[in-house]
Subunit: 445 residues, 3 copies
């Protein structure tokens, strides 16, 4: 569309191909039993290291992190319940959701009545195994379908859990991609859920491929922002990272918590606590320009790790971009949140949207019109008709006038996009053309 513009800062990736690659990576991650600590997290992050140069950090049990303490490390090898005939009626090897996450070791016989006090099912969704945790309770339990629960006969049961809960470490993954500025864009996802796809293998694979694509484009296109990717256990992970990196946290200028990005519904953006931060307006613009349905919701102090990034002592400009949000889909935290609930197409579309947001932030300059008194004479510079076909040309000419009129040092390109109703991307291209003709300069940011 533009004859003589400099290249766009970020090239839009092929989201269809990436969607399939993400779904493939998710398939590899799916069987692993993750928790907020333990080898399942290490093994999962190890798979991601094959894609991106992730660094794994280990924080010892007992480390004080603000009002919390890093917990004991949990590992599990096997778990089952056998009936009187020696048949496994609940088997961790069939689904890691069967175990109450963080269950202590058990090896004993008990009656059905006694056993039932440790069983969890969903009467309303009788064919789904629920996902339950007991991180800080030192208890044990099994989760199973309600149908299976009802089928359990009276009699004695053998309960076996081969787990350990002991001093160890909390593990998280981190990747920093330096830009020309120390100002940072944070991409954070939780990596603590076992075999659950939308929540949050989808977030892990999207974050991985977002990083991978940024790395691939890094040489050709130096970037303004530093990017920091965090793969952390929910709540305790973000609290731990914030406690150990207060100073780095202050360099985060924009951030997104990545979760539930693989289901088939339209996108929902949950704003940062500030509500009108640049990240909030950037996502709003990208979604509005997408010509697809979407929703914007205000910040609430519950959900995922945006709770911690937006706690009043930090109040970072961090929002969360999801498809169906946290807890709003019936498959949420059940065995139905599986590999067929998440699609390659949805993952690809989510990635493309994240990418468009990053592209916007990178290019959101405040320009200065170097001829602010009256309009500059565009005709003698060949700028009328410089832009593609007839309809595009007219729009681009009006875009030139919008940019020149509002490039007074008070309006960023995003401000101008919001005021004019034009797409940011088109305005950014036109601005680079005007800049190449000496009509604009970028204000230092």
């Amino acid at each position: 569309m533009i004859a003589d513009s400099t290249p766009a800062t970020l090239d839009q990736p092929n989201s269809e191909t990436l969607g399939m690659l993400m779904h493939g990576l998710m398939t590899d991650l799916y069987p692993i039993c993750r928790s907020i600590t333990g080898d399942g997290v290490r093994q999962s992050l190890g798979l991601l290291q094959a894609q991106i140069p992730l660094t794994l950090h280990e924080v010892p049990t007992g480390t004080p992190v603000f009002d919390w303490t890093v917990p004991k490390e949990w590992n599990i090898r096997d778990a089952y319940v056998k009936n009187a005939r020696g048949e496994k009626v609940i088997d961790f090897q069939q689904s890691n959701l069967h175990i109450l996450n963080y269950s202590v070791p058990v090896n004993q016989c008990m009656s059905l009545t006694e056993l039932k006090q440790h069983l969890y099912s969903l009467p309303d969704q009788p064919q789904s195994i629920p996902y339950k945790t007991a991180y800080y309770a030192e208890s044990w339990g099994f989760c199973l379908t309600h149908e299976r629960l009802l089928a359990l006969a009276e009699g004695d049961y053998e309960v076996y859990i081969d787990s350990t809960l002991a001093d160890g470490h909390l593990t998280y993954g981190e990747l920093i991609l330096p830009g020309t500025s120390e100002e940072t864009i944070l991409i954070s996802c939780h990596c603590c859920h076992p075999s659950l796809c939308n929540d949050n293998l989808s977030g892990m694979v999207l974050s991985t491929y977002l990083a991978k694509t940024l790395i691939e484009q890094q040489a050709a296109q130096p970037r303004h922002y530093t990017y920091r990717f965090l793969f952390i256990p929910g709540t305790i992970g973000s609290i731990t990272w914030l406690a150990l990196h207060e100073e780095e946290a202050r360099t985060i200028k924009h951030g997104l918590v990545v979760a539930c990005v693989g289901d088939g519904s339209s996108l929902t953006y949950k704003k940062s606590r500030r509500g009108d931060a640049e990240i909030d307006r950037a996502v709003a613009h990208v979604l509005a320009q997408s010509n697809q349905p979407y929703a914007m919701v205000n910040f609430t102090p519950f959900g995922y790790d945006e709770r911690q990034y937006c706690s009043p002592g930090f109040d970072l400009a961090v929002g969360s971009l999801s498809r169906t949000p946290h807890g709003r889909f019936p498959q949420y935290h059940t065995s139905e949140d599986n590999l067929s609930f998440v699609t390659a197409a949805a993952l690809g579309d989510s990635l493309a949207t994240y990418w468009a947001v990053l592209a916007l932030l990178e290019q959101n300059h405040t320009y200065i019109n170097l001829n602010p008194k009256g309009e500059p004479q565009l005709g003698r510079r060949g700028l009328y008709g410089a832009f593609g076909g007839k309809k595009d040309a007219k729009t681009s000419e009006l875009a030139m006038l919008w940019i020149l009129n509002f490039s007074d040092g008070q309006h960023s390109l995003l401000d101008i996009a919001e005021r004019s109703g034009y797409s940011f991307q088109m305005l950014a291209e036109v601005a680079r053309t005007l800049q190449s003709h000496g009509l604009l300069k970028e204000e230092t940011r």
Copy 2:
């Protein structure tokens, strides 16, 4: 609902019982002929002194009060019009509305034609006696139903008004209930209307019982605010009080003018001149939470004494909470605004609403989250599940997160109620629980 909270600052009174007591007091006040000065006011305030320790103040005729002067005192003993047969065709003893309020003494005979120049009726409401005044005109007249007017036969009439208009005093009642702060909540009602119930015996009895209930609860629950109750003649009374108490007026932080609080319609709040004062937002929240229809209207410089409190030289945060507002009901300023137009139920409901507003103001602290970085660990403090039944418990847990996230010194509880959509009262209880666990402190106000 709360296990370990400190008691709420104000206990909600039994509004049904109080409604009946208020209606009873109104019945006692009804027959008295009040005006802006005179013994009718003294007698009425005397009846209120049986309920609350009201102080009566007397301001001499001729006292300059801003642009006005305290007028002569008016008293009336009897008044009638007799026809040629000596029959009383208009009789003050039957209704004190029959006399044009502030009529000078008269004792003379005249033709019907001459008499008619002094008669006031309502052709559109032929069975109602209108209420008319002539405070500053030194004239006389009678008010009567239009039916009675039409029935007057030609002939001579004897007109007799046994009144005095002479130097004396303007009387008003005042009650101050000190709190720990000198910051004051003003409750003001006009007490100058004769036998008219909604306007404004309803305001007088509501103010009386509001004071009475505050006094009853004072020992158990010390209050932040000082309360100042004013029972004053309309316009000249508030101007007189303001002129003589400019300094005290500056301590009024919130105020309500009480009028027309006894009819059967829904509540209407007229905002203060400022429009977004804490009193305006407090009343809006209480009405919105009531699950009953209500209306909010912007300030206009006419109505009752809020005109004077909101004059530009004071601009106090004083609104007015009514049922049907000033002049909007057909019974307004007629003999139909009587004891059956005002109901005990409506008086009780109005009192409960006023009470809820005061309770909100008393509890509207700005708290400081003492663990502002990340969330505090509520589980180890037993705060998950600390609150009542299952549904309440979930709401209260989310309320904890709202309060913790926004208690950054910039948001009062009312701010948090508005932002979260939760009821102020529930948030206040949850905040006290968090405070008792050392998670919050109150900012000094």
Copy 3:
């Protein structure tokens, strides 16, 4: 309506009569061939000098004006195209729209094919001659109806254009009407279009009669504002004036660009770049009070000379009040924008609206209530009932209370009009009455 008020600052003119006079002046201007320079402009402004004491300024070709240069002067005496039989098939003498404005001289024979590269028509409006320009291109051409174009037979044609494009001047007209303040109201219209009535002979005649009426009323009613009228060629004219008068431009407090004010549609106001300037609010109030349909549109950096006045280096409070805006009527820039498209009634209505806006600005005082504590006693000053009939009287009494309550030095009369919903004009009359009773004083502006 007011008994004792001082006279209104501006008397509403007879818009019906003025509408006819404006249409008459337009009829005289219509045949002249105008352009951005040349004798057509001088002749047109000469006709206006018979109405108002306009000063003509001449700026030499080559004068640098910001990013532009004053172009060569163009003059044309005759132009035609003859067919092989010597018949004039296109004749400048029939319509000056036939010539591509700024065509260089030509005298040659050519085939129809060659000629057609220089012909412009409108296939969608086959009976209209389009208006085309080539100010900075040094080319030539003819415009004609599409029907005529289709009727041209094969064969040779003689093309003759007797024009000159040479060093000379850019001519513009200026009229300054001094007020007591140096603060200026700018009225600007473009005068560069040939035989086109709505765009923009309508603007030229309205500006002329606005000035004429101000002059006629000047002696009786001294005005606060200085008025500056500009009759300039579009774009290059406003850029030239701004470049040569930067300091004077800074004294412009309010401004209107006058264009397309004669067609039969309702009024549209395009706001200044600031969006909430006093001129924007003044026009909005006048239009809202008109009880006729109207539209308000936000500033866009295209249209007429408001583009230049609102360029970021000036950002003047200049809007544009039109009937159908720029480019939105099918007759726009065609021979159908003629003397019958513009009506005397529409011109008169537009003038009355402009006049009402000026009257509002002149009277938009910020008053100070001299009795700000409580209300002043209006009754003893005879101010109740001072105003006309019963319904008017009640409204005027409430208007007194609005003005007194909000005349705190923070609210202009327009602020009070917006807040109360009352008409500015009525409030202004009431304010003068209050001022004459010593209750208000005007804040110096």
